[in-house]
């Protein structure tokens, strides 16, 4: 990984993301969805549903989950895992909020089988 990808990138402010919603960060490797829950927790996942690639950023966010808009799989925002009985995983990206500023690293966390490397 190059240094630039390793850095915490400033992507915007918390209020840019609607509560119980998401915004997209467009990258050359495909979109990343940044979610904000009802109690202002922020999570980032690759914007591709492990089922058939649906854009998770377009789903309804409830609790710490998002419902994929295409076939209604439920993906956990904190782990990227699909809720049972479905199985699959969307890669997680490290994200943090400081003084209302959202920062993200473009290197996904380890631990999501097949989650990274696969191109959109």
């Amino acid at each position: 990984m190059n240094a630039m990808n390793d850095a915490w990138l400033q992507v915007g402010r918390l209020e840019d993301i609607p509560r119980q919603g998401a915004r997209v960060i467009a990258t050359a490797e495909g979109a990343i969805a940044v979610f904000r829950t009802v109690d202002d927790e922020v999570f980032a996942l690759r914007d591709r549903c492990p089922h058939k690639g649906g854009p998770l950023s377009q789903g309804i966010v409830h609790g710490k989950r998002v419902a994929c808009p295409l076939h209604d799989w439920k993906i956990a925002l904190d782990t990227g895992l699909a809720a049972a009985p479905d199985a699959g995983c969307a890669a997680r990206y490290p994200v943090r909020v400081e003084d209302g500023v959202v920062r993200l690293r473009l290197v996904p966390d380890e631990g999501c089988p097949g989650g990274h490397g696969e191109s959109p």
Binding site: V11, D16, G21, I25, I60
Partner: protein
């Protein structure tokens, strides 16, 4: 501050369910004491029958193990009944002298079995069938003796007889009435039942009245008498435990002889080493009566389950509500919910009584009965009988409502009949089809219309959307121990998409998980986030003046912090419909199509369908569409089935710009993506067609101008045809108009789609003004009363065409008021969402937060 004190008397099913409900909604409100006469924690009394039959064990039926009480900080006193309530000092006292103070008292003392007051009733070996001690006594007797007599051929008696038979006894069932289960079954069904049970080896003596129980001439065989009364599992059974009428069944001591035979009033006798009295139950009111509470065959309670002393509540079999004391758990659980709501100081629920249904828990026998099937004055019976196949069905109808159902051999439609009965649905419009069941079987892709669910091979596809087979569903229900539709949906995906197979899946659930029918909730909650039904949610929103989504969730005790993608869109719609020009729409509670005002495609792009009023267009509009298609590189342009043009594959970021161009050409959104008014299809009509009777195109445009922009429970489509040739297919629309020479026929409740339904004729009117008024009124009635995601067709089938007619035709003033409410709500609804977004609204929805490289 000290917590309030709550004391529950009766550690049984109704009382404990109330506590569980209460702890869920107000966990910290009370310091709780539970006092139970039985020496056990709360267990599932229903399952005593399978325990007796050897199908389950006592351990398996415990509902709240001792540690549950400890975890919830509940003080539990077992093995000693409460013998005194001091209402002045607000405390109760047990037989052992233990005391507990209360601020609120909950009585849930259940019932006692009625022991016939005949000579010999006090002999050892005579038991009721009510609690663990009874079952243990029966199991013990079955190990030592041969002859059992069950007095009473009702539900309990037959389950007892079946269990004892399976434990190897020779069982005779004695029954006073001319046929079995006379309160649940009519004679033909009871005869079938009797035949089946006889085939299992039971003997029946009908119309026999017990005169006396005779002691056995010789001291009973097997172990000593004293030993015989001790309980098999070693759980001690305290003597003061049974506060029942009549003598204690297990009181035998020393050399007192055991029961040996039953003598009838005609002088005949049958041998009996065990006599089970199952002739009925009596609400256990002794305690309440001694405390001066008003009782009348049960402790009298009002709709909030309060007794005449407002600090004292009563639920369960001991309570008498509007003159009825129930003896089945489903109504008791409903009572529990209401009582908990009031104990939690929320105070908005009401208990309005229940309709009950019965199944017999004897493996291999399908029997279902609900409501009042005896009929009586003014009722009619619809009967199907096939003695060879062992199938019998009787439906009793009164004033166009189903009031009773009795099914034997084929009980698949039981739940449907029960719904009709409970909801008081008018069946006038489908009376001729009633007996043949809900038409869920035979939806496209589900094979033979006549095939019955049980007979379907495992490989039959039940859910055509997700390719789920019958075998998969049945296996999942068994292996994962699934009980609800939601669970089956989550685990198998069956019925999770278009939902047309829901009825089949429910049938499979009932068939597979069946045994404990009490699990079937008597109403369906909106989703797993709540216990409330759609109708309750709507009522609360209106009556409590709830005007924001979080308020509604808080008030209705939502179980999840912010709902889910099922309930939030529903709530959002209900709020919007209830407070039309006031409610602030919640974009995050809308499905993406409605949030982004386009249809999401499989690749994440969107489709754009501009409105073409009544299907009319012109060169200028077509040119504008062509320009947009070229300018934005739209990959595909198609004429839709709704008479307009669809631009497919538009990138989300391009949507506002596409809309700007379309808006400048005069287009507004076609709402092809919404639970909203979609299209108004028209035919050419009198302007050009040689058969046309009226200006169907012009009328279509007027209707569309009036209705566009309105949000609905589901998609909503209109059409106007110029003559009965009906080229606009008006008779499969939610609201369709067929012009005829003498006026306009108004048709409602049709759809194409998954399950085609042809409209019902609502009315015939003379003028276009009337068409518009009736359309507005019907639309508003649907908007206000249908459940979210219920299209007009299933809605009409649920409420009945007669109801709709009563609201729209018979009540002219009501019709005008409905139409007026529709028009009023349209004032703010008819703002083109596309133009608003082209002008900069909700930009965040359409633009990335950040674009890298």
């Amino acid at each position: 501050m000290d917590k309030m004190k709550l004391v529950l008397v009766g550690n049984g099913m109704a009382g404990m369910r109330t506590l569980e409900e209460l702890l869920r909604i107000a966990p910290e409100l009370y310091e709780i004491t539970v006092i139970g006469a039985e020496p056990h924690p709360n267990y599932n009394r229903i399952l005593l029958s399978p325990v007796l039959a050897g199908e389950q064990t006592l351990d398996e039926i415990v509902l709240n193990p001792l540690q549950w009480y400890a975890e919830h900080g509940i003080r539990l006193v077992t093995g000693s009944p409460v013998v005194r309530i001091d209402r002045a000092r607000r405390c109760v006292e047990t037989a052992d002298g233990a005391r507990a103070d209360y601020d609120r008292l909950l009585l849930a003392t259940g019932s006692d079995p009625f022991i016939l007051p005949v000579p010999g009733a006090e002999l050892p070996g005579v038991v009721g069938f009510r609690d663990i001690a009874d079952v243990e006594a029966m199991i013990d007797a079955s190990d030592r003796y041969r002859h059992a007599v069950v007095i009473g051929g009702g539900l309990l008696g037959l389950e007892a007889a079946n269990g004892l038979k399976l434990r190897g006894m020779e069982v005779t069932v004695v029954h006073l009435a001319p046929w079995l289960m006379e309160r649940q079954l009519d004679e033909p069904a009871a005869r079938l039942l009797q035949q089946n049970l006889e085939a299992k080896g039971l003997r029946f003596l009908l119309q026999r009245q017990t005169a006396a129980l005779l002691p056995s001439p010789s001291p009973a065989g097997g172990g000593g008498v004293g030993e015989r009364v001790s309980v098999a599992s070693g759980i001690p059974s305290p003597p003061a435990l049974h506060a029942r009428e009549g003598p204690l069944p297990l009181a035998g001591e020393g050399s007192e002889p055991r029961v040996g035979a039953v003598r009838f009033t005609d002088g005949s006798e049958v041998p009996a080493d065990l006599v089970v009295m199952a002739v009925g139950i009596r609400p256990n009111v002794a305690l309440a009566e001694s405390a001066g509470l008003h009782c009348n065959r049960g402790v009298v309670v009002n709709d909030t389950l309060q007794t005449y002393d407002p600090r004292i509540y009563a639920v369960g079999e001991c309570a008498s509500h509007r003159g009825v004391a129930y003896g089945l758990v489903a109504p008791l659980f409903e009572q529990a919910r209401v009582a908990a709501n009031h104990l939690a100081l929320q105070g908005f629920k009401r208990y309005a009584g229940s309709v009950t249904s019965t199944k017999l828990k004897v493996t291999g026998i399908d029997l279902y009965s609900a409501g009042d099937f005896t009929g009586g004055e003014g009722s009619e019976a619809i009967v199907y009988s096939d003695p060879i196949a062992g199938v019998y069905k009787k439906l009793v109808v009164k004033d166009d409502r189903l009031v009773g159902a009795c099914l034997y051999g084929d009980t698949l439609e039981g739940t449907w009949y029960f719904e009709l009965l409970r909801d008081g649905t008018s069946i006038r419009d489908f009376r001729d089809k009633l007996l043949f069941g809900r038409h869920h079987l035979g939806d496209s892709g589900h094979g033979d219309e006549k095939a019955r669910l049980a007979a379907l091979p495992d490989a039959t596809e039940i859910c055509g959307c997700n390719g789920v087979k019958k075998g998969d569903i049945v296996r999942a229900i068994r292996e994962q121990r699934l009980f609800t539709l939601d669970e089956v949906r989550a685990h198998t995906k069956a019925s999770a998409s278009c939902g047309s197979c829901t009825g089949l899946v429910e049938g499979l659930l009932a068939m597979t998980a069946g045994g404990d029918y009490s699990e079937a909730p008597s109403k369906k909650p909106v989703c797993a986030c709540t216990e409330h039904s759609h109708d309750e949610v709507r009522r609360a929103i209106r009556e409590q003046g709830l005007k924001a989504l979080p308020d509604a969730m808080r008030f209705l005790e939502w179980k999840t912090p912010d709902g889910c993608n099922k309930c939030r869109p529903a709530l959002n719609y209900y709020l919007l419909c209830a407070w039309p020009n006031e409610y602030q729409d919640d974009a995050q509670s809308r499905y993406i199509n409605e949030r982004a005002h386009g249809n999401i495609q499989k690749d994440g792009s969107f489709s754009v369908v501009p409105r073409m009023w009544g299907g009319l267009t012109n060169p200028k509009e077509l040119r504008a569409i062509a320009d947009v298609a070229e300018k934005f590189g739209v990959p595909e342009v198609k004429v839709t089935g709704g008479q307009r043009i669809d631009l497919f594959g538009v990138k989300k970021e391009d949507l506002p710009a596409v809309w700007r161009d379309l808006s400048e050409a005069g287009f507004v959104s076609g709402h092809a993506y919404g639970k909203a008014l979609r299209t108004v299809k028209t035919c050419v009509g009198a302007r050009w067609c040689r058969f046309g009777t009226r200006d169907s195109t012009g009328l279509g445009v007027k209707l569309e101008r009036m209705t566009w922009g309105s949000w609905m429970p589901h998609k909503y489509k209109l059409a106007v045809s110029g003559c009965p040739r009906n080229c606009a297919e008006a008779t499969i629309k939610d609201f369709g108009v067929v012009c005829v020479d003498s006026g306009y026929e108004l048709h409602v409740g049709g759809n194409g789609g998954i399950k085609v339904r042809v409209t019902d004729l609502l009315a015939k009117v003379d003028t276009e003004e009337e068409v518009l008024e009736y359309c507005a009124a019907f639309t508003q009635l649907y908007r206000e009363e249908a459940r979210y995601l219920e299209r007009s067709a299933p809605w009409i089938e649920r409420v009945g065409l007669s109801y709709v007619k009563a609201r729209i035709l018979a009540d002219a003033e009501g019709r005008r008021a409905l139409a007026e409410r529709f028009r009023a709500s349209q004032q703010t609804a008819q703002v083109d969402p596309w133009k608003a977004r082209a002008d900069g609204a909700e930009t965040h929805e359409f633009t990335p937060m950040l674009t890298l490289a």
